[in-house]
Symmetry: C2
Subunit: 283 residues, 2 copies
């Protein structure tokens, strides 16, 4: 069994298998809540650090705003993270996940539930990837004038994301790449798409596409500015990915992993760019 610790805002660290959510919580009954996740590194002596917590808490606050949730108590969460990190001593990598729900549906006051988990990372997470394209069902401009579709928010309503990963596995792939109904690559269920063409790093645009703003992309953008590397937002058709210098899926927990095959056919790879991007993102 994977090692995990659980902490609840207002309570602190609790037992891993202790129930913490009631049956009436909208986070459970409607997926009506948000989350964010990042990497925890623990040294041989059991000292843990969390990466980019401020950026992830800022994104959590942006997700809350998109969902019209009460703003999460970021200071309280940061203190809870510190308490949990002090209790987390398993050397190696782990994932910190923060969950923030709308709270009880039928209570007198709608009090949000906020909790976090730190979970040991599965071995071999950072590896070259076979990827399968899957229709997402939305056009690339669907979210432009429809804020109620909650584009760009990191929602607890992720059933389609997990279902897409099962379908990708069925196709012999490690992960899925969502494609819009008008034929553009969007993002993976829990990662962003990056590619390099003509010496420029590109990623798919947020906004009208509904794509989640990636913290890893944000960090790479700042690195590119400092290094004088071109960094651009663009749409791309999956067929055009076969003609780039390299393509990657990136996330705060997984790092920057090269896509080696797309729908079973080899993609160009670049060890130089893989090393450069992974190291720039801190992996």
């Amino acid at each position: 069994m994977t090692v995990q610790i659980v902490a609840v805002l207002g309570t602190g660290v609790v037992g891993t298998h202790e129930p913490v959510i009631t049956a009436d919580d909208l986070g459970l009954t409607r997926g009506d809540g948000i989350f964010d996740a990042t990497r925890v590194l623990t040294d041989a002596d059991g000292h843990s650090v969390v990466e980019h917590l401020d950026r992830h808490l800022m994104r959590l606050a942006r997700s809350a705003q998109a969902m019209e949730l009460p703003a999460p108590d970021v200071d309280g969460i940061a203190a809870l993270v510190a308490e949990a990190l002090a209790a987390w001593t398993t050397p190696g990598e782990a994932a910190l996940k923060i969950v923030h729900t709308r709270g009880l549906e039928h209570a007198a006051t709608l009090k949000a539930s906020t909790l976090l988990t730190i979970t040991e990372t599965e071995p071999g997470l950072r590896r070259p990837l076979a990827v399968a394209t899957l229709a997402r069902g939305y056009a690339s401009d669907t979210f432009a004038d429809a804020p109620w579709l909650l584009g760009g928010a990191k929602l607890l309503s992720y059933a389609v994301h997990t279902s897409a990963r099962r379908e990708a596995a069925r196709r012999g792939a490690d992960d899925a790449l969502f494609v819009s109904s008008d034929g553009y690559a969007l993002e993976a269920p829990t990662s962003s798409l990056l590619w390099v063409v003509d010496g420029a790093v590109r990623t798919t645009p947020t906004g009208a596409t509904g794509i989640l703003g990636s913290v890893t992309v944000e960090i790479l953008k700042e690195w590119a500015r400092d290094e004088g590397v071109r960094f651009e937002s663009a749409l791309i058709r999956p067929a055009d990915l076969y003609a780039v210098s390299g393509a990657w899926l990136a996330s705060s927990v997984r790092g920057v992993c090269p896509i080696t095959t797309l729908d079973g056919a080899a993609l160009p790879t670049s060890e130089v760019w893989t090393d450069r991007l992974a190291s720039a993102a801190g992996f």
Copy 2:
């Protein structure tokens, strides 16, 4: 505060505010689970009956199959419902909701969590409705060849549904009516659309549309067959709803409620058809 009872499969009735779900349950962290809901009627002596439980358990099993979840233990759930009904004595109407999740993400065995709530129904639920149309972002044939998009399954991932209801309220409406990107009315966030035209009852088709198969529609279909009333599946553009004999939103808890205005403009209503359909559906 609304009266509610909670029961957990394998445990029985528990305290309403007792936490029952752990932080690692995929039903919470990914909205990776399903639910179903129906009406409970309780007489003045506190005796309760649940409506159409078998049909709702069958739909729960169909949702589980679409989600590739382990089949829910329908006999165990039925026994749990009986235990909960015996404990539910609040006269009037209530909603029974059954929740079935994929279970813990990081446990050695992925054991589903199955629980139910019985919650007093809010007064005035059954009333004429002002409805606002809202884009759903999908075309009416999006789900035809994309089972990973989980069309027709009653998912815990319902954040967009609750968000659409908030947007409808902001527009001064009681509920939302989702419209496909190719311009067809689909369904409401938690109700089906019915309308009458030329003496025939119509509803929007399941399947490629991703629309959830409605138990109330199933009952009305059987009534129509017995009564010799034409009952048809068809797509309709919202603009064409202004020219029908009447239109309704229907669900197992809400019953059959006439839509009186759509986007602020009056729709034709028919008291005769409202009475007929509501009574046929048992309301």
